[in-house]
């Protein structure tokens, strides 16, 4: 395993120390692995907590700041944060108006956030949980744990953060987040597996001419293998999968093309070019886009495409000012 680390054990702590050094506007509670805004939460504002396993950076700590999250909990690599730590984060951002938990749909994350919410409620903090489950590679059926939460998380966190910043109450913020999730679908392919530091070797091996199709963001193999094809063809297939499941409205989409951690920007722009071309051909307008590393999977080479149907309100929330390490505008 070749990584810029000291020890697999300390990877998350060391990265958080770097984040703390780089971003004085954030506060890092190393004991609990909780990142918050130094400015704190305005009294009466709904608090926003997200979190999950590490290895998806900039998700979630890179989205803490004005107009987005109030706190991020960093679990070990690919392991959900434990309930006690989520509770610490929940308390930290509770400013009297309740707290929204944005949770990617995985068993561990669900259980930990649910337990933390239970404990928070016992302390008198109202908590609403919002589940992100956008990955169409996982068919929702009795045969699975439900769709995974992947690329749409950045969209959900952005609009929920804007809604909270604008004074939305607990239900309004949670509903906005749920609507963004309901309107979002993602699909990802991997060219090369990433390596979990504690495991020390790649999650899977792939021949030079094959890719994994329908991967998640935890290094697991995809739904199937297939030949490496030209980007144009690959993107068309990925969009087929996403559009087949995306709610049909006349609204335009927010399109997010995210590298999975080891994909150069040159390739991401090639992919985005075909996303734009293909969607135009299919009559789907792109209102906003992101191209870069937004929701990653350690050093996996590959790309995810997320589309979110966004009505005027979601677009307005998308455009609202945001000032975090990884998203900044307005």
């Amino acid at each position: 395993m070749k990584k810029l680390l000291n020890d697999p054990e300390s990877a998350v702590a060391d990265a958080l120390a770097g984040l703390a050094a780089s971003r004085p506007e954030l506060m890092v509670d190393q004991e609990h692995r909780v990142v918050t805004r130094r400015a704190g939460v305005r009294p009466g504002k709904v608090g926003l907590v997200s979190g999950g396993g590490s290895g998806h950076e900039p998700l979630h700590s890179g989205y803490v700041g004005l107009g987005m999250l109030d706190a991020a909990c960093a679990g070990e690599v690919f392991s959900a944060p434990t309930p006690d730590r989520i509770l610490v984060a929940t308390r930290a951002v509770s400013a009297g108006a309740g707290v929204v938990h944005i949770v990617k749909n995985y068993t561990g994350d669900n259980l930990s956030f649910d337990m933390a919410a239970e404990l928070a409620r016992e302390e008198g903090i109202e908590v609403e949980k919002v589940l992100v489950d956008d990955d169409v590679a996982v068919e929702e059926s009795t045969w699975s744990a439900g769709r995974r939460g992947t690329g749409a998380t950045v969209v959900v966190e952005k609009v929920a953060g804007a809604r909270a910043e604008a004074g939305g109450d607990l239900k309004a913020v949670a509903d906005t987040a749920r609507r963004a999730d309901a309107m979002s679908r993602s699909f990802a392919v991997a060219l090369r597996a990433g390596t979990v530091p504690a495991a020390g070797r790649p999650g899977f091996d792939l021949p030079e001419d094959e890719i994994e199709i329908g991967v998640g963001i935890h290094g697991e193999p995809g739904r199937r293998r297939g030949p490496l094809r030209p980007a144009r063809a690959l993107v068309a297939d990925m969009l087929d999968a996403v559009l087949a499941d995306l709610p049909e409205t006349s609204d335009p989409v927010v399109a997010v093309v995210s590298g999975l951690g080891a994909t150069p920007l040159l390739e991401l722009y090639v992919v985005y070019g075909h996303v734009a071309e293909e969607l135009a051909r299919r009559g789907v307008a792109i209102a906003r886009n992101l191209v870069g590393n937004y929701v990653t999977s350690l050093d996996m080479a590959g790309v995810s495409i997320t589309l979110c149907r966004a009505d005027a309100e979601l677009l307005r929330l998308w455009d609202a000012p945001v000032d975090t390490p990884a998203l900044r505008w307005g």
Binding site: S79, D84, T107, L111, V138, A145, V196, G203, H218, P221
Partner: protein, 213 residues
Amino acid sequence: MGRLDTTTALSWIRAAADAITAHEAELTELDTAIGDGDHGANLRRGFSTAALAAERSAAAGQEPGAFLVDVGGALISSVGGASGPLYGTALRAAGKALPGPDADTAALAAALQAGLDALCRLGGAAVGDKTMVDAFAPAVTALQSAATDDLSQAALLAADAAEAGMRATTPLRARKGRASYLGERSIGHQDPGATSTALIFRALADALTSDHA
């Protein structure tokens, strides 16, 4: 003929922690194939924290029930993966169902049944979904139906049953946990959680055998 008191329960958790550490690489391997590769690290971290909690709890003179509640809590607050809340909840529920300073086979079986029930309620898995339940459930059944008063003998049967359940996960298609995302491709791999469950039941048998040798 053999009861589980706090001393033996402490031996159990120590033995489980040792077994997990010794098999960390194997658990990592199994979870890499059909999961996200962290089950070994999750449980090593969890059981080393749990073992510390166990020492403290035993030193504080807790009865086995409260002792298991403490250990379960430590797992919940240290593992992080799906397995942490599941194992932790199971142990906490088992502990709450375990009265008195020591337990015979029937009492322990009933407590572990309560733990299994809590685990299934929480995770929603049933036998055959290719999870830890596939090892946990037959182990509890074996303990319940062991035609012996000798707890260490019964625990050996439970460990064997857990291992058989563990092996039986290989041909299954996963319905719960990360392996379910793989669909058909989960078939042919042994479930990591069922594997750690088998280690934990084997540790129980070991603890009972050596403490009551």
